[in-house]
């Protein structure tokens, strides 16, 4: 088991958001998490990445059997946790290329690996960027500054491709994407599927799951997982909506 979340309770500004969430992700598994607004999906993503301000009051999160809750975000990243942000932030003044290199080398350093040489790094980025339709000009620009919504999401996937995480959490990667961008992004994600890598795909809609086909689907409501099933569960949700789960959980 790559990730085990046991009875997780989380508060944000004294408000309870996660209420005893339990979830396991197997190595190599792609798990979709669906649920209505306010069910705690994004909170789960942030808690896994270690965002400040999210207080765990109870429960544990184990990555390969070891707790990550006391780790800073950068240490979690070095252990293989990656969050593709729902709203990637703009970082004026920091060139995308510098950002990618600093990130990769910082992780490698924390893991005691050698830093990438410049030519090897440039080649690595170029190849991955090409596959995602990201041009050289974008790589020279400041991170996400002046990028369209689709470009920002593609940039998230590029970072994931460069950093090669063990656990990728994709927080509503489909939001704000048109159908072409959705396809490009999904193809990028699918290329990164591997028996060594697990993914949590958070989404409101079944549409994304036509492109990134999950192994399992979990439904969240009111801060916990209320139902789990195969990929057909997503279709059922699309047809019937979330009302039954929000009522059940109440």
């Amino acid at each position: 088991m790559l990730l085990e979340i046991k009875n997780l309770h989380v508060e944000v500004e004294d408000k309870k958001i996660l209420n005893g969430l339990t979830l396991s992700i197997e190595k190599g598994q792609v798990a979709a998490i669906m649920g209505p607004n306010g069910s705690g999906k994004s909170t789960l993503a942030y808690v896994l990445a270690g965002k400040p301000g999210y207080t765990v009051t109870e429960g544990e999160v184990l990555l390969n059997g070891a707790s990550i809750l006391d780790m800073a975000p950068d240490e979690r990243a070095a252990k293989g946790v990656f969050l593709a942000f729902q709203y990637p932030v703009e970082v004026p003044g920091v060139a995308t290329m510098t950002f990618l290199r600093t990130s990769l080398n910082a992780q490698r350093k924390l893991r005691g690996e050698e830093e990438f040489s410049t030519p090897a790094f440039i080649k690595l980025v170029r190849d991955q960027a090409n596959d995602l339709g990201i041009n050289q000009e974008m790589l020279r620009r400041s991170v996400n500054v002046g990028f369209s919504g689709g470009e920002k999401k593609r940039n998230e996937i590029l970072q994931m491709a460069i950093l090669q995480p063990l656990l990728a959490v994709l927080d509503e990667t489909d939001s704000g994407l048109d159908i072409d961008a959705l396809k490009t992004v999904s193809e990028g994600v699918n290329r990164l599927r591997s028996p060594e890598r697990s993914m949590i795909v958070i989404t409101h809609y079944q549409r994304l799951l036509d492109y990134i086909v999950p192994d399992v689907v979990h439904v969240m409501a009111k801060g916990k997982v209320v139902k789990s099933g195969g990929k057909e569960l997503a279709l059922e949700l699309e047809a019937k909506g979330y009302a039954q789960y929000t009522d059940e959980a109440a």
């Binding site: 800073a72 950068d74 070095a78 990656f82 970082v91 003044g93």
Partner: protein
């Protein structure tokens, strides 16, 4: 008759007055230049050191900050000259013409006085003594002001650089005015420089100040002719009190680019009095201040658009750690008939500590009706959202902060057109950042 009721003179004011009385007979310059000193001293004597009740000095009260006036600097000795030789490292990577001043006095043997067509260099002491025509024409007249610090400088001006760039000349190398504090015992220097760049000429000029706990009051008068371009850089990294005044008049279709860096400087007041006197002139006035400990940096600008169709851009950034205190006061005045003026001013402070203070005061005085003027000011901490984003990619806390601070500074430094100075100034900023740990 105007009678101003003033508090008793401070110890520093008394010391400055007696310093003037002691040296007035020996100071260089006769006739009109001597009366210029005398008038200036009277103005200073009446006003005293600038203090918080003088609006332009509200945040930098010299009556409080300047406890003592140090004795006037003696001519540099061998040890002082040795320091002068090593000074100005910040711009050492550039191939420039060094003119070295130790405790305010010009040191010809450390300076590069090789001849270049169209360029004339004299020391201010020599020029004043012989009643140099250029000095007689311009000194004290480039931008007339009542400012007490400028008046004190005029009263006590001893030495400095006098540089003339003839019409149509493009200087081959930048000129670097290297100012070093050389004496072991803290002293006071009053430096006055004059740079006149005639029509259609181009000059790149830099000024660096580094060294010990001395007091420096320096003023530079810069006269930029029609269709000429001057790029002027200033870096101040001194541990004493530094009061710098830049008095500028620019003609028509001229270009003036300037950038000031203050890093690891204890107490600085940089004031600019800029007049755009001819049409179609561009001004880019920028700066970065990096403060920690109890450092205090005050940038106060008066930009006067006296002719139409000029544009000016002011962009200042400060990074404040510990109890650093940054002041920015920028006043843009658009005179009647200076139509089609386009002036924008932006100042941003990044506060890294709860105890740091940033005072931003932009002012606009517009007397023409067809102009575009704007200003903005911000002060805030590092964005925690940005920091989390960087950390979520594996970048540690300190490095994430450093990257964001670098980006904040970089936005302004990157605007410098001159590649050599851009690199040197960015390297100095990074050095400050590295020392932060």
């Amino acid at each position: 008759m105007n009678v101003e009721v003033r508090a008793t003179k401070t110890a520093a004011e008394q010391a400055l007055s007696s310093a003037y009385e002691g040296v007035r007979a020996k100071l260089p310059g006769k006739g009109a230049l001597a009366s210029l000193r005398e008038e200036a001293f009277k103005r200073f004597d009446a006003a005293g050191l600038p203090h918080r009740r003088v609006e332009e000095w509200k945040y930098t009260d010299l009556r409080v900050l300047m406890r003592d006036a140090f004795p006037l600097a003696a001519p540099p000795d061998a040890a002082g000259k040795k320091i002068g030789k090593e000074a100005g490292k910040i711009f050492a990577a550039l191939d420039s013409r060094r003119l070295v001043f130790v405790d305010g006095a010009f040191v010809p043997e450390l300076s590069d006085l090789t001849t270049e067509t169209g360029l004339t260099i004299t020391s201010m002491a020599a020029a004043l003594a012989k009643g140099d025509a250029l000095v007689a024409k311009h000194v004290g007249k480039t931008f007339e002001t009542d400012d007490a610090a400028v008046a004190l400088n005029a009263a006590l001006m001893g030495d400095g650089a006098v540089i003339h760039v003839a019409a149509g000349t493009e200087l081959k190398r930048p000129i670097h005015l290297v100012f070093a504090a050389g004496s072991d015992t803290p002293s006071a220097s009053f430096v006055r420089s004059l740079i006149v760049v005639d029509k259609g000429a181009r000059a790149v000029i830099a000024e660096s100040h580094d060294g010990g706990a001395s007091q420096m009051n320096c003023a530079l008068e810069l006269v930029i002719g029609d269709e000429s371009q001057v790029d002027y850089f200033k870096a101040t990294q001194t541990r004493g009190l530094h009061v710098g005044s830049l008095l500028l008049t620019a003609g028509a279709k001229a270009v003036f680019n300037t950038f000031a860096l203050n890093s690891d400087a204890a107490l600085v007041r940089n004031q600019g009095f800029f007049r755009f006197a001819g049409e179609g002139t561009h001004g880019a006035i920028r700066g970065v201040n990096l403060l920690r400990g109890k450092e205090h940096v005050d940038t106060t600008l008066l930009i006067e658009h006296a002719a139409g169709h000029c544009d000016s851009r002011e962009q200042f950034k400060s990074v404040l750690d510990d109890q650093g205190h940054n002041v920015f006061q920028g006043k843009i005045v658009v005179k009647p008939h200076a139509q089609k003026t386009d002036s924008k001013m932006m100042t941003r402070a990044l506060l890294l500590s709860d105890e740091a203070e940033a005072d931003n005061k932009p002012e606009l005085e517009i007397f023409a009706d067809d102009v575009v003027c704007g200003h903005g000011a911000t002060a805030g901490a590092l964005d925690p959202g940005l920091k989390f984003y960087l950390m979520s990619r594996g970048i540690d806390d300190k490095q994430a902060e450093a990257l964001l601070i670098q980006a904040f500074i970089g936005e302004t430094v990157e605007e410098i057109e001159h590649e050599g100075f851009r690199d040197a100034l960015m390297a100095a900023a990074l050095q400050w950042l590295e020392a932060r740990g």
